[in-house]
Each structure stands twice: as structure tokens, then as C-alpha cells.
Amino acid sequence: MQLQQLAQVIRSKNAGPRRLTLDVMFASDGDYRQAAQSPALSPARIAALYRVAPENVAVMPYPLGRAIKITLARPIMSGDPGDRDVYGAQQHTPLLEIEL
């Protein structure tokens, strides 16, 4: 199953100008647990998808919000020359088709 078939929200945004934070949120505790247990959301796999070093990726389960938070270093600081997404709001798409 793809992540986009299970999740209720898949979004990205800046967490400060040098980091990107990705939130994956679920409608039920069961859906959350299924995703949280999947190796597909490991820091190494996320790092490969976003082409950043694994040490620059953090994956944090947040059961209270039925959510998984992923934070990674932006390759280009928000608004610097070459940036493509100042707010970081369109960087979630690599997550959509992750096979759990």
C-alpha cells in the first residue's frame, strides 16, 4: 500500500529557513501504527528520496497527534539564489508513493 492511500495529511513546510519539516497524519490509531512500524519511513530511505545525507534526517513518531514528523536540512536556504520553494510547502510529493 502507498503512503498516500493510508494517510489523511501529507504536507511539508519550513521549520526555520534552513530546515524542512514533513508531517504525515492519519485518521485512526490503527493507520498510524501501520505506517509507524514500516521500515519504508526510516531516515536512510527518506534521505535517499530527498538526496540528502542520512544524518540530516530525523524521523519522529508522534502518537498523540497520530502523526509522523520528518525533519531534514534544506539543500538551499529559504530564499537563497537557486531556491525553488521559499515556504517549503511543495516538497512532500516524494512521500506520496512510498510503499509501506
Binding site: D23, G65, K69, G82
Partner: protein, 466 residues
Amino acid sequence: MSASGRVLEELRRHPRPIRLLGASGQLGYGIPTPAFTGGLARQPDLIGCDMGSIDIGPAYLGSGEMATAPAATRRDLRKALLGARQLDIPLVIGSAGSAGAAPHLEATLAILRDIARAEGLTFRMGVLRADISRALLKDALRSGKIVGLDGMPALTEDEVDAASHIVGQMGTQPFRRALAADIDVLVAGRACDTAIFAALPTMLDFPTGLAMHMAKIIECASLCCVPGGRDSILATLDHDGFDLESMAPQRSATPVSVAAHSLYEQADPYTVQEPEGRLDLAAATYRAIDDRRTRVSGARWLPSTDPAIKLEGARSIGERAILLAGAADPRFIAQHRNILPAVADVVRELVCEDTPQDYTLSFRVYGVDGVRMAAPEQEAPPGEVFVLGEVIAPSRERAAEVMRTTKQYLLHHGYAGRLATAGNLAFPFTPPEISTGPAWRFNVFHLLRTADPDALFPLEVETVRG
């Protein structure tokens, strides 16, 4: 007595839960009237509005311009000011004018004074400035008290001089100092959004952890609800927790929606770092009161022994000109990765004939990889692409020269297998090259360690006469 003095005295004399109205998380983009009016009817003790963020990029901090339209900003400020004066409660505005530096603060104050004149309002206004002096920063640099945030390179004295504005993000203590000065309206430059709502309750000895957690949620108005939105939200804080209720009947604050809000624009859902300490949400609990209201408790506050202020600064890096063009020819699209650098070479030979290269020229190809930071290398080619050309050069004239030359040579560049020899680009209008003014970048995003962060943010109090 002014509003802050009156509310503090009332609550000290007759302790009870305190009610705070989060009117807007982005003042200047519209405050929906029905929910705001509904909030006023609940007799809040304070109205708070956040006006700014670093998420909008470096241009506003650099240029001194507001991100919001003047007319919309005025409409929102008028609504909030009239509401607060009607109830005689403090109005607290943080990160004035989008980026919270001197020009943003002055523009916000000018609008407020103008509204006061038009409405015949007289009130005491506290103003907290957030600009940090270059001399202080250079001293701090030399004594090693400034460190980069999230991998930001070390700050230099040259960068301090190059920044057009440098602000510190003040915490709650300056807000407490201002509210203690018996004022009706508080306008702060760059500030933590929590300070707007946490200052007054912590002056009344409500637990700091709860006040900070509440503030962190209601500074975004009803964004913590399902469906989330910008309608006003009411928080009622006591010594054991706080209740959240959107003032828009269609929005519900549910335990999951409120808990999930801790994720928003935060790197870590369990921790909020503030200048004066750290908010720990690991033990926070969220309980439904009914289907529209949630009660929150459990947040802990850990005061810092090593206070630090976040610094933000932006500098100009030249003048920008852009090119807007589309293309639909499949041969052009298939070869664009070769065509664009080839055109850049041709342009360089022409415009640098008698001078060294003093500009950067880049392209974003929408439909291919214009948006994604890590687009897959193998994808089916799109039927159309949009080409955004960008030049950053030392002067407006130079940027325009490079962009116009680029436009012409990209339009007519001959590439292998070309059939469409009359032109490679579709322009949506002319001129397709536009000078957009200075380009900015954040060159300060650092922490300043200081034993006395409160002293960085001076307070002025003025009587505004209508």
C-alpha cells in the same frame, strides 16, 4: 488607569481563569468579523495578534516592506483596536509589519495613530523595538557569543555591516515589562509568537508551561481546529490547564487536531525552544470537553540557565531581472538540459566581452524540476514547460541587459534536430523580461548568547491622541 493595569488589578484582586482571544495569526490577511465579534462577546481579558514570521523569506526583512497590503493591514488593525478599546482590554501585537524591524514597526505605528485620529481614540501605547545594534553584535562576535543556527556559517563583521536590518526575536519578559507599564496597546517588533499571549498570564502567576503551550496554539487563531481556519479562537486558562474553543461554530478543537498542531512549522513536536527556556510537551494531555472544545494540560516549562536570542538579518545580493516564457516543442523540451547552458555561454561571450562576469544566470524549468528540490531524473517529458530565467547582477541595468540578451538568444538558439526555426519560446505577454528590484538573502540566522536578553529590547510608551 489603562487597560493592562486595570486587567492585572482586577485579576489580582479577584483571581479567576483568564480568557485570551487569538484574533489573527497573520494580521493583514483578514480577520473574519463574525468569529471576532463572537469572541468579544465572551469578554476576553486580552486580544492578541501575530503579524510576522521568518517563513515569508528574506525580502521583507531586507527591504523594510510589509508582506501584507496596506489597506488590508489597516482594516485588520482597526478591527482589533476598536474591539480592544470597546472592552478596555490590552491589544498585543507581535512581529509588527511582517518582519518586525524598525521600518515595519514604524509603518504599523503610523497606521495605528492614523486610525486613532480617524476614530477619535486616545490610548497609551507601548512600543518594543527589536533591532539589534551592529556595535553590540560585533562585540558579541569577538567574544564568541554568536553561533549559527541549523548549520548556518559563522557570522562575520562584514555580514553584520552588509545586512540592511538585523532583529532579535524577543521573548516574554519584554512583553511583561511593557504590560507592567500600564498601557492599552502593545506593539512589538520581531517577537516570539508565544510572548503575545503568555506575558499577561505569567504576570498573574499562572503556570508558565501552560501559558506558553496555550500561547503557541492560539497565536495561529483557529488553525488547530478541524477544519482549520483563521477565525478567532478563545483560550480560558486556569492553574491546571486551558480550554480551547474556536469562535467560528463550524470549527472544532478536538484532542487530535490540537495535539497535531504541535507539529506545525516545528522541527520537534515535543519541544519548543524559547529565549528564556524550553517548553516540554512530552507529558501534555488533550481531552475533549465536548465536540467543539478541548482541554489541554501537562506542559512543563524548563527555564534556561543560558538564555539566547535568535537573530535574523537580510542583505541585498544584487538586482534581479526575470524572464517568463513557455515552450511546447518536444525536441526543445527533450534537449533543454543542453540548450540552456549553451545559451548561457553565448550570452556570457556577448555581455562579458569587455568586462568579467559579474552576474549569475539560472533557469527553473517548470514541468520538469522547477518546484522539487529532488526531482527524479527519469520522468516522462511534459507536453509543455514554463521557463523562468533569473539574473542577479550588480545593477538594475546590468541585470536587464543580461536578461534581454538571454531572451533573444534562447528564442533563436539553434539546436540539433530543430524544426521550429522561427522561435523556441512562447511569451505570455511583452515585455517578458521584468526587473523585480533588489534580491535578498538571509545572512544572519544565529543565536546570540546574553545574560540579560530583556535589556536588548527597549520600551517606549506614548499617548496616542485621537
